[in-house]
Symmetry: C2
Subunit: 431 residues, 2 copies
């Protein structure tokens, strides 16, 4: 009896696509034993079919015509590894409409168009799997959908962007400033020439939207995520955070609260003993708190050809197994609730503040009064170095609603003794 | 249209059983939405049906007759949370023979009788799920079988026993000795009156056998695991390890090597910067290295009613979903290879040694010669405190085959300058 074969079409053969192809080849026998079926890459969509990619590809497998893959009825699984929301989105829709299962690593597409795509699978009874779209090789989508499914998820906090985690790790270890470490990251290929997407938090925010959608069974799209990046973090902030017993990390945070769900991405001070605090360099990790399981954390490489391929190929194997057993879509969209989002002004955090003030008696009293008038209570105030008539103050608030803090900050800018509010960074994981 | 119901039978209502019941009740609606079916606990086997367990149970659900559950054709999923390999094993066999799906938290049974039980599911097309048998609430069985399925697994190292990790954490933090911390753990309920199973490594070794079976697709039973416990670790060992930049952890270790697979459980020195080194107190964690994904780690609570229930109920949900879609056993036994085990004598490690020797010139030369004669090369030798005519030596070897080290140790015991080989502990995670 000949072995059953399932044909796959790859859309894209860049870093991730090349990794997927290599893993499918290298571990072909293992994959066949585990799924009961041999996976054959029958077509790969590329822009330039003539380019040498250092891969030994069967003749004729490359094509620059999407219809060669999307209209081929023998291809049952389409693997989208192009990225972006342009043609990729169009191709995935077409694949799903034709009843094909789709595996994608595309966070942009899933964070913006997840609902529309899942609606197409419901018609077509196909799989739409996207493990690689969040945290690369770290299993988290399937973990939330399946392994931790018995839990009501209380909180998810993730280090979801390797570039910024590398930069913050270097800034912490070496005391270097943001611009220096950004250039270093660019030289190493960890940061792009235009680093906006990483350093301003947009990449992490898209992943945060996807995590929130799954954690709370409620569709959250990227524009609903509150975002702040790390470009305003200075060497001073990191030094002071260290002195206070914290590290600074860019976090994707989703929380269940009685007033709605919180979905936000911003830098935060984390206590040094928090499980996420030791996650350094380009590594990613996701901390999940569930009502039954308690605290868990999942750690690994959030990017790179082979780690991402690990997640993509696991999805392909699931899709193939589901085709063999005639149950594509057995675990489909889990956004069956519509929970309200909490306004950012009502989010409650501790906060770290760094102020530049006039260095003379009575200044602290004026500042403290503004905080008090806005129901912001201070946990700690430290005067850092002073230069001539100016001094730097570091303050840590107790937990306070964001709106009260904003009102207090507005009040501070009206004081002539406050020269500048240098930075405000939320504190997480401290309760 | 009335909602579909799947009936469940619980075998046991102790700590884990009570947790499973509570999670099923508390998150009943969420579970129904995710699986498409309502789960009803139709029978619970207990020894004493009259005892008050602080749970609000429907009348008549408790029984002391196993046949009430095993012979009830309306019960489709049997959840075994009794533990041990006596009646539990018999009941699970009977359930599988009747075509029921089985969810179990029973590491003893799975580590000793996994093959026989899986053979029964192959006949019956039922699920046998056992996520909770290793590391409590941490997803690792499904992670290896599904999420990391595209990888050839190179190594798994786990902190799999909370009791011993708590003890080692306290010994490290406080410098206390083994007996003191054992009594403390017993007073807190972390260690049992007879602590043998935990402190001698048998509990961790059973979990190691299960992890090895899945990681290498090769059935490894508990008796095949090399085991050493932590009862010989002293406060001195921990102090010296700290000085060398290591922490001591009890690890379950499985490794793929050209000469066969290694499956062992023993204390080990881990570099302080290793991801597992920061896993403290009763927490568990499993580090997995795959050929595609690279380094990953999974962290959480390895025991306790609710964390374990999180894993058990996730398995119940999978089993229920598979029944609804008529695909029980869609992911079944993955032991389709028979890879050879490597003899312990051929395992290569760095080693830490603590010796009590006569404190006089020329002693080190004699010792070094014995090591050299046995092809054991030393990376570091430090003389620790001396008392009168005796001194303590701490040595670290380069990587060496276990047999060569054993031969060297036999040679040392023949030297009259060596009073005692106080301890030998392997070093892991250092390459």
């Amino acid at each position: 009896m000949s072995e059953r074969v399932i044909k796959i079409g790859l859309l894209g053969l860049g870093t991730v696509g090349g990794g997927v192809y290599r893993v499918l080849q290298k571990n072909a026998d293992l994959i066949a034993r585990k799924t009961g079926v041999r996976l054959e890459v029958a077509g790969i969509l590329v822009r330039d079919v003539g380019r040498d990619r250092g891969l030994s590809l069967p003749p004729g497998v490359l094509t620059d015509r999407p219809e060669d893959i999307l209209d081929d009825h023998t291809i049952q699984i389409v693997v989208e590894v192009m990225g972006g929301t342009g043609p990729a989105f169009d191709y995935v829709r077409r694949a799903l409409k034709r009843g094909k299962s789709v595996v994608t690593a595309n966070k942009d597409m899933m964070a913006e168009h997840g609902k529309e795509l899942f609606d197409l699978t419901r018609e077509g009874k196909s799989d739409l799997l996207f493990e690689a779209s969040v945290a690369g090789g770290i299993p988290i989508i399937r973990v939330l959908k399946q392994c931790l499914a018995a839990n009501r998820i209380e909180a998810v906090m993730g280090i979801l962007n390797g570039t910024t985690n590398y930069m913050l790790t270097r800034m912490t270890a070496e005391g270097t400033d943001f611009q220096t470490v950004l250039q270093e990251a660019q030289a190493l290929g960890y940061a792009e020439a235009d680093p906006t997407n990483d350093v301003e938090g947009y990449d992490a925010a898209r992943k945060t939207a996807i995590l929130a959608s799954i954690a709370f069974n409620t569709r959250i799209s990227f524009p609903a995520v509150y975002v702040e990046g790390i470009s305003r973090i200075t060497a001073e902030d990191i030094t002071y955070a260290t002195e206070l017993g914290y590290v600074i990390k860019l976090l994707g945070i989703v929380k269940d609260t009685p007033e709605g769900i919180e979905v936000r991405t911003h830098p935060a001070l984390l206590p040094r003993q928090h499980p996420l605090a030791a996650v350094n360099d380009v590594f990613n990790a996701i901390y999940v708190r569930g009502d039954a399981v308690g605290e868990t954390m999942f750690y690994g490489r959030g990017a790179g050809a082979l780690p991402t391929a690990s997640a993509v190929v696991a999805d392909i194997m699931d899709a193939a197994r589901n085709i063999v057993h005639r149950v594509p879509g057995i675990i489909s969209c889990t956004c069956f609730e519509e929970r309200p989002l909490k306004e950012m002004g009502r989010v409650r955090c501790k906060n770290y503040l760094r102020l530049r003030v006039v260095d003379r008696p009575g200044v602290l009293a004026q500042i403290a009064r503004v905080f008090g008038d806005n129901q912001v209570s201070l946990a700690a105030v430290t005067q850092k170095h002073s230069e001539g008539t100016k001094a730097e103050l570091v303050l840590v608030t107790h937990e306070v609603a964001e709106q009260n803090l904003r009102d207090a900050l507005a009040g501070l800018t009206g004081l002539d003794v406050v020269e500048r509010i240098c930075n405000v960074i939320r504190v997480e994981g401290d309760s």
